[in-house]
C-alpha cells in the first residue's frame, strides 16, 4: 500500500529525485500535468512501469483528486 503524502512532501521528494507519475488518461495528462510528471495511465501501469520507471528512485503517483 503506497504511503499517502501531501503537497509539501511531494515537492520535497521531487527535489530529492523522486519520479512523479500521472495515472490519468491521455487527454487529461496532455492538458495539464505537474511539471516533470511521467504519463503512465492506470491500465498500462503493470505492463509499462518496469520500462518507464527508474527502480532506484522513489515513485509518487497521483491522479485528479481524492475521488
Amino acid at each position: 500500500m503506497p504511503a499517502e503524502i501531501r503537497r509539501d512532501e511531494v515537492r520535497r521528494l521531487v527535489d530529492r529525485g523522486a519520479q512523479l507519475v500521472e495515472v490519468l488518461p491521455s487527454p487529461e495528462y496532455e492538458e495539464d500535468h505537474i511539471p516533470g510528471a511521467i504519463h503512465l495511465p492506470l491500465r498500462k501501469i503493470e505492463t509499462r512501469a518496469v520500462e518507464v520507471l527508474d527502480r532506484k528512485r522513489a515513485v509518487i503517483v497521483y491522479c485528479w483528486d481524492t475521488a
Binding site: I5, I34, P35, Y62, D65, T66
Partner: protein, 144 residues
C-alpha cells in the same frame, strides 16, 4: 511508492505551475494583481482608505496574518465612517476563485454578477491576488 492523494487539483489550487496544452492559457491566477492592497480586521478604515487611494486603488482585501481572505472593502465600504474598524465596515466572506479557473469562466461570472473584482485564493483560502474585471476583459480581447 507514494500516493499524492490530493492530486493535480490540489497542486493547481495552490497556484503552482503545470505543463501541458492548458498551461499557457490565461487563467485567474496569472491575471490577478499580486500587488493588490491588503489590511487587517482591526485596522482603522480611514487610514486604510487614505493609504490605498493614494496608491490608486479603490478595493482592499482583508486578510489575517497568514493571508487568509476574511473580507473585502470596495468603494462603498471604503467610503464609510473613517473611525470604523475594518471588521465592521467590510463585506465578509467574499466569493473567491482558484488560480486555475479559466478567464473565460471568470469573465462570464464577473460580468453576470456585475463585479469589479474578486479575490483569487489557494484551496486553503490564502490570497493569490485580486482579479479585476477590466483585466479579464482586456486579456480576452487580446486572445481573440
Amino acid at each position: 511508492m507514494y500516493d499524492y492523494v490530493d492530486g493535480k487539483l490540489d497542486w493547481m489550487a495552490a497556484g503552482l505551475p503545470t505543463e501541458g496544452t492548458n498551461a499557457m492559457l490565461p487563467r485567474a491566477g496569472n491575471t490577478a494583481r499580486k500587488d493588490a492592497p491588503t489590511c487587517g480586521l482591526k485596522d482603522r478604515l480611514g487610514e486604510v482608505r487614505e493609504r490605498v487611494r493614494t496608491q490608486g486603488w479603490d478595493s482592499v482585501v482583508v486578510v489575517n496574518e497568514e493571508r487568509v481572505v476574511l473580507g473585502l472593502l470596495r468603494s462603498a465600504e471604503l467610503d464609510k465612517d473613517a473611525d470604523l474598524v475594518v471588521e465592521r465596515a467590510m463585506r465578509p466572506g467574499p466569493s473567491t476563485f482558484r488560480p486555475y479557473v479559466s478567464l473565460h469562466e471568470m469573465a462570464h461570472f464577473m460580468v453576470e454578477h456585475k463585479l469589479e473584482n474578486t479575490p483569487i485564493t489557494t484551496s486553503d483560502g490564502r490570497l493569490v491576488g485580486l482579479l479585476l474585471t477590466k483585466d479579464v476583459l482586456e486579456a480576452m480581447d487580446k486572445a481573440k
